[in-house]
């Protein structure tokens, strides 16, 4: 087993383990912390694929920004000591059966698909290329989605204002 393979299994194992812990943990702050490890391991996979830019974005935005945001909102809204009720045994059995069936179906379908192995594209994409296509307006240019996402963020701000606005005293 080469070191490359070993690292891959390490990162994948971490992703699997911590994803399960995230959804099964009964304390919300712990769940958020486990999520942080999932996101960091995902960044590790990106590094292995030589996508440094994507890995950096994953680390700064997801692991750095979003998890901190989640933790902030947990601290501001809920009681950290609060422990969720354990899930009933019947619910647990049904969930496990459904999830296992779905996972087996998906995994066999993916494994049976003969993907072509591509070797050449495992080079780090040029930063200029990424920047160019983010602002490009021709084919494979992403200027329009980029702009529409800004409208989406604006709309999300309106939405959160509606929910958070204080009612005026009468």
């Amino acid at each position: 087993m080469s070191i490359h393979e070993l690292m891959f299994y390490l990162f994948s194992g971490m992703i699997l383990l911590f994803s399960v812990l995230t959804v099964t943990s009964r304390r919300i702050l712990r769940a958020a912390t486990y999520l942080l490890f999932v996101l960091i391991s995902t960044a590790g996979i990106y590094f292995m694929l030589n996508y440094q830019f994507l890995a950096a974005v994953q680390l700064t935005l997801y692991a750095g920004g979003i998890v901190v945001l989640i933790i902030f909102s947990i601290l501001l809204t809920s009681h950290i000591t609060h422990k969720f009720e354990p899930i009933g045994i019947k619910k647990m059995v049904f969930t496990i059966v459904a999830v296992a069936a779905g996972a087996i179906l998906t995994i066999t379908t993916v494994l049976n698909y003969g993907f072509n192995t591509v070797v050449a594209s495992s080079q780090n994409p040029d930063m200029q290329l990424i920047g160019g296509s983010l602002l490009g307006y021709g084919r494979d240019g992403y200027a329009l989605p980029f702009e529409v996402i800004s409208v989406l963020l604006l709309a999300a701000i309106f939405g959160s204002i509606v929910i958070a606005k204080k009612e005026k005293s009468k």
Binding site: Y142, V151, A155, G159, E167
Partner: protein, 471 residues
Amino acid sequence: MNLQSFLLMRHEIMLTLALVILLIAELSTENKKGIINLAILIFLVVTVVGFVPVPEGSLFGDMYRTSPLTVMMKNILNIGVLILFFQSAEWIKQPEYNNKVSEFYLLIISTLIGMSFMISSGHFLMFYIGLELATIPIAALAAYDRLKNISAEAGIKLILSSALSSGILLYGLSMLYGTIGSLYFTDMGEAFMNTPLQVMGFIFFFAGMGFKISLVPFHLWTADVYEGAPINVASYLSVISKGAAVFIFTIILFTVFHSIAPMWKNLLYVIAILTMTVGNLFALRQKNLKRFLAFSSIAQAGFILLGIIDGGELGMASVLYFVLIYIFTNLGAFGVVSAVSVASGKENMDDYNGLYHTNPKLSLLLMLALFSLAGIPPVAGFFGKFFLFTSAAHSGYYWLVFIAVVNATISLYYYLLVIKAMFINKNEEPIAFFKSGLTTRIGLLMCVAGIFIIGLLSPIFEILRSLSIGI
């Protein structure tokens, strides 16, 4: 690409402009009534300008496409939103909403921008962003009465179920992208190879869209959200948002997935029967009018699938025609429920007992809308259903049409229950007589006009059919 080519995007640009103008108005004035009137006026302009013919084409390297068909779809949605704005003016004027008047319009317009981009998308990324822009702000709208538990619950339920469905949809898309290597509709239509993994990706996509259109078995969120959300938001969800999702779903099925048409037709066959039957059976036992209309709108979505299953221009035209009629019809029904709720705060079916004796005009209007939903001949709903059934029969799905007709009969029973309550049932304390404001009356009159005119004016279907050629 030059400035002129931006004219192709006039719907989206006009809507964004409307958004900016309203935002500035909100910042500069405290006059809430003025903002309501300004919103209606701006939207009237947007709707009218949308009808100005502009040549078709694509922008941003085929990421954004327009054709006379998509322009017509956007115009249909614009008309619906215009009616909704007229109808909701009186609701939003109530004192409890005094500090969030303009947000209602801002959120509705931003979701409409999302729907327009979604309908015009030629790339799954644009489609997805449009879909999210059309869904996330609605969750805030559903939680508009956030101090009422039921409304906050509706907002949470909507955002959680839409997040789940988006996740499923994206997972399916990732499978398709992994096997095809492109997200452009045209590339994917050509490269679709019908391998098990791609079919699985398609089914995940289908399930995600099923959530948005609330097809059975993905409908569980619908009734709770409609019940908890303010009536005007529920009517927006059931009419405009569902209509837009149906439009893009039809386009994607017909263009991207045309090579597996036999497969998705079988899928639609089963889902259509389930949706119609389950929607109808649950509607039978509802006492709250909002829940009742929610299940009725689930059943109507099942009927729409009869048009999609045809897979050709006749199917496309009958879906468009049905949604156009459905907008007027369902907005009429929701409009009356909203007017009654604003005036009296009552939403249960028993409260409507004897409504005819106190408010004859509203009762007649609700009767007209319910007849149209049930598909009784002189009104437009009949023609809408008629063309849907024709297009399904045209492809040889006679059993499906038979089941749909049986379901239409069942639906007549529960629509008549409401009519019976209004006209025949006795009530010691009926809802007192009230007079709605001018805007509400204009909104309701537009619905009445639509219900009559669209059914009787046969050129409309011919126009829609000529637009659908070549889909």
